[in-house]
Structures are given as C-alpha cells and as structure tokens.
Amino acid sequence: MDSLFSLIDGFGVLADPANILYMMIGVSLGVLIGVLPGLGGANGVAILLPLTFSMSPTSAIIMLSCIYWGALFGGAVTSILFNIPGEPWSVATTFDGHPMAQQGRAGEALTAAFTASFVGALVAVVIITFFAPLVANFALRFGPPEFFAVQLLTFASFVGLDRSSPFKTLASMMLGFALAAVGIDIVTGQLRLTFGSHELLRGFDFLVAVIGLFGIGEILLSMETGLSFKGAKARINPTVVLQTWAKLPRYWATALRGCIIGCWMGIKPGGATPASFMSYGIAKRLSKNGDKFGTGELEGVVAPESAAHAAGTTALLPMLTLGIPGSPTAAVMLGGLLIWGLQPGPLLFIEQKDFVWGLIASMYIGNIAGLIVVLTTVPLFAAILRIPFSIIAPIIIAICAVGAYTVHNALLDVSLMLLFGVVGYIFKKLSYPLAPLVLALVLGDLAESSFRQSMLISNGSLAIFWSNWLVGTICTLAFFLLFWPLISMGLARLRRRQVAVEAD
C-alpha cells in the first residue's frame, strides 16, 4: 500500500507543467533517435545528458527516461517499415513486421507493435512500482561483499547469456574495467595508467565512449553496406488503429507471455534482446498459426515487442534499487545520476523519495505520451528516414562531436570519440559485444571499491564472498552463470551420448 501512496506523491511531482513539457520533448526526441540510424537509446541519452545538467535532477531524469521510451518505440518503426532494426531487440520484430508492411499492412503492424510495447512497458512499470521498494529494502542490508557479489552476478550473466564467444565478452568487459581504472585511484590517490599525460588524468568518460562506440561505430558500419532506405509507405489512420485494437485482445496470452518473459529477462543485464527472441520463439511454438510465423502474422509482432519493452523497462529496476544498470542505456542514465550527485542504490528510495517516485510516475505517463506521439507522428518519422543517408550521416557525426565535447568541454574527448568509433566498428565486425564494455566502464570504480572494501574487511581472503548465505548464494549463482557456456556444452554432450546409447 505504501507504494501506492508514494506513487500518488510521484504524480504530484509530475503536476509541474515544465515536467510535462520535458516529457513530451523527451518522447519526441526519443522516437527521432530510435528512428535515425546510428543514434540509439544509449548514445542519444549520452549526447543529451550534458544539456540536462542545468535542470533539476527530477526533470532531467524524466526527460531522459522519456527519450528512452521514445527510442524503444522508434526502434519498431524502422524494423517494420525498412527491415532495419533500429535496436538489437527489434530484430525479432522484423520477422513478421516487415512482411506485413510489404503486404500493405504497415499501419496494422505498427499499431500492433506500439500497443504491444505499451502493454509490455505498463506491466513492467507496475512491477517496478511494487517490487522496487521491496528490493531496495532488502538491499539496505547489503555490505560491500554483497554489492560486489551482485556486480559479479551482473557481469557473469553477460558472459553466460551472450550469444557471442564468452572470451570475447570477457575481453570486452575487462577492457571496460581497464579504461575505467585510468586516472586517479580513489583510494590511494595515485595516478594509474596515465603514463604522465595530463589529459588522461580525467580518465575515460563513459559518455564519450558510448557516443563513439554506438554512434560513430554504427555510422561506419551502415556506410559499409552502402545504406539505401527502401521502405514501405506508412499511413496510420484512426480506422486502422481501431480495427487493429479490435483484433489485439485475441493475442492476450501471447502478450502476457511476452510481458512475463520480458520482466524476468529484463532484470538481468542485456535482457531485452534475448527476451524478444525467446518470446517470439515460444509464441511460434505455442500459437495455432505457428507455421505461418515469418510471413506477416500479427501475433509475431506482438510477441517480441511486448517482451522487449517489458525487458527494457524492468532494466531500470536494478539500476534504481541496486545501482546496477540492466542495459547500456540504463548505464548511461546511471552515469547521469552519479553526475547529479545521486547515488543509485537502496538509499535512493529513502533519501530521494520525490526523485524516485517522480521517475516511476513519469514511466506511466511517459509511456502513454509515447503511444500517442508514435501513433500520430509515424508518417513524419517515416519521411525522415527517406532523407538520403549522405545528409543524415554528416549531421549525426556533427551532433555526436558536439555531444562528446560538451561532456567535459575538452577537445581531446572528440578525438577519443572517433577512436572509440573505430573500435566500435571493428568490435562489431568481429562480434565482440559492446554492452559489457560500457557497463564495465560505468561500474568499474564502484565494482573496484566494493571489491577492495570487502578485501579490507576480510584481510585479503576471498572467503568473505561465501561468508553468509546471502552473499554466498549470489556468488555461487554468478559462477554458475559464468560457466554456463561450459555447463550447457557438457549437458548437450551428455544428452547426445545418452541418445547414442539408447540408439544402440
């Protein structure tokens, strides 16, 4: 019940007309970012983050989270109309969304996608509302070993769940940690990895890295394919929307399954993409029309979209309660919180009630606003996509440069951004995952200090990570996930052997 009262207070924070305005701006910008190639949620938020420093933290996070919702919605537009997934989690949406658009049912597909996303996000927000305070309360008991254990779990689940080579995930993650270590050591005040350079004293800012890795890297990658947008026409009118809405209740089970998968996967980092695929796969297996999936089934749009949005939204739950972001975009927002002097984690729910509940309330309204904005402005955004890439690309690069500069007002950062762009391009081509790198860069200092504090408590013995049931369980789970690729390989081999034995 406490949650409900707090939520009502949160809506009170939103009553400020300025916040509503920021929300609308945020959603529109977000859709634009989601639609444009080379700009995604993570680097869009990163570029706009410096602009929000002059606002109050509450207004700023409301605007940034609305950019995030907008970007989540926007990703579906490109997937359906152009067969280009704007974000990795909209890949599964292209399977049925694009065939529908080719059959001239783009309006239907878009409406279904937006509505499913909206439902997914809404379910996830409800879960955050009631679940987050409990998690935060629980996490109040956490000491440094527990925090390090949770961080270990986060990183281990990347290694275990990512579909690329676990060693590449590990290398990319450790590179992030190494970059995070550059600069002044917070404990001893010694200079680390600066090699006498004054410019490196500041360390590597994750915002610059995100803008480079995701923005410039993406542009280079799309340039290589000689990107030309050939998309289906999008027209959404109220009749199509109403007709589709009339059809959608039939797929309530698919949507619900998507939401559950999404919420479950979203709490773990990097969850949105596997969640969307998993939801699509399960819907395909369980649906009566399963064999028609991939040819333009409405259900095939509903399944991945509801899961992706539920996952994208619940990714904010561990960020708020534990200070551990579940996605690169959440990582950028977490960085924003740190810059505003707010320490994400359980104490946030006690010390910054207005902020937290204002944010949660804005998730409700932001998603409603998002749905309205996308349904009314899709033709406009589809038209933007028809602008030739040779106009869009230089503008995006220029905006990325501005974004990188404004982080610290340093020219070196702009060059670093370009360097990160090249790294991002090469890493993507060799399928090194980028999300672990960004997450490690953001969490590096936190993870290191909680590790060192734990080591200080235990006088250098690793046994502290198994000293009580709580930390022990988390650590064991982390190691289980870390070695999951090996375990699943072993299981598969065992099963094959069994099958072979039975065949004999």
Partner: protein
C-alpha cells in the same frame, strides 16, 4: 583481423599489468595497493585474448572469412577521413564552421548534391545548434576567429 585485434588486446593487457606492477599489485601495509585490481583485470584481458587468438588461428584453415572487402573499406574510409579532418579543424576554426564545411563537403562528395541543396543544410544545421547551445542552453562550444570577430 581477428588475430590482430586479439594481439592488440593482449598488448593492452600487458600495459595494464606493467603499470599495476609499478603501482604495487600486492597487499600493502594498509590493504590492497592501487594496482591490486587492475593487475587482475590485465591478467584476464590477456587470458581471454589468448583463447580468442588460438580460436582464430585454428579456424584459419577452411573457413577464413574476409574482415572487410576492398570497396567496403573504401566506403568506410570515405566517411572516416573527412571526419578526422572535421575534428582537426574544430581546434582551428571552431566547431560551427568546421561543421558547415564538413556537412557541405560530405553531401557534395557522397550524395552528389548541388550547391543549391547542400548549402542550406550546411548553413542551417550549425546555425540551429549555435542558437540552441550558445543562446538557449548557455553551453559554450569551441569557437574560432570568425565568431570572436562577431563578438562571441
């Protein structure tokens, strides 16, 4: 390319370890020294890259894939080189004029747009950003001699 990247990562890992050893990677008088954590990071970078390198070398025979085709590389360089020039120019003539030149050049070079089309875009984008940053948000961006002469 796989092998080269793995080697570069290994070199970076070695660099991290080398600096950590300088700082002290062991247990100091008051607990872990500054290099304690990075040292372990460096070791992990090297270990994971060794595996990637081994995988890449073993896979060489049979399914060697091309990292990038020549014409693809040319396309990428055609973006990369102007961007490098753009970033270098920022330091000399300020971000707004560098941006105008960059956008104009890019549109002309890649899109074969005529001056009638690329000039408005190249002028308007920096102008809008100028109004947005310098006047509305009051965030100063790098400016060159021209803006100074205009009194900003």
């Amino acid at each position: 390319m796989e092998a080269i990247v793995a080697l570069i990562l290994m070199a970076l890992g070695a660099l991290v370890i080398w600096d950590s050893v300088r700082l002290g990677w062991r247990w100091g008088l008051e607990g872990p020294q500054a290099g304690y954590f990075p040292f372990r990071i460096g070791v992990l970078i090297i270990l994971s890259s060794v595996v990637t390198l081994a995988v890449a070398l073993f896979r060489r025979r049979g399914e060697a894939s091309t990292f990038v085709h020549r014409h693809e590389l040319m396309l990428v360089l055609r973006v990369l080189v102007p961007t490098v020039v753009f970033i270098v120019l920022i330091g000399f003539i300020g971000i707004y004029f560098a941006m105008a030149l960059f956008i104009g050049f890019f549109m002309w070079w890649h899109g074969r747009f005529s001056a009638v089309k690329f000039l408005p875009v190249a002028v308007l984008v920096p102008l809008i950003l100028f109004l947005l940053f310098e006047l509305w948000f009051l965030i100063p961006l790098p400016k060159g001699p021209v803006e100074e002469w205009l009194g900003f």
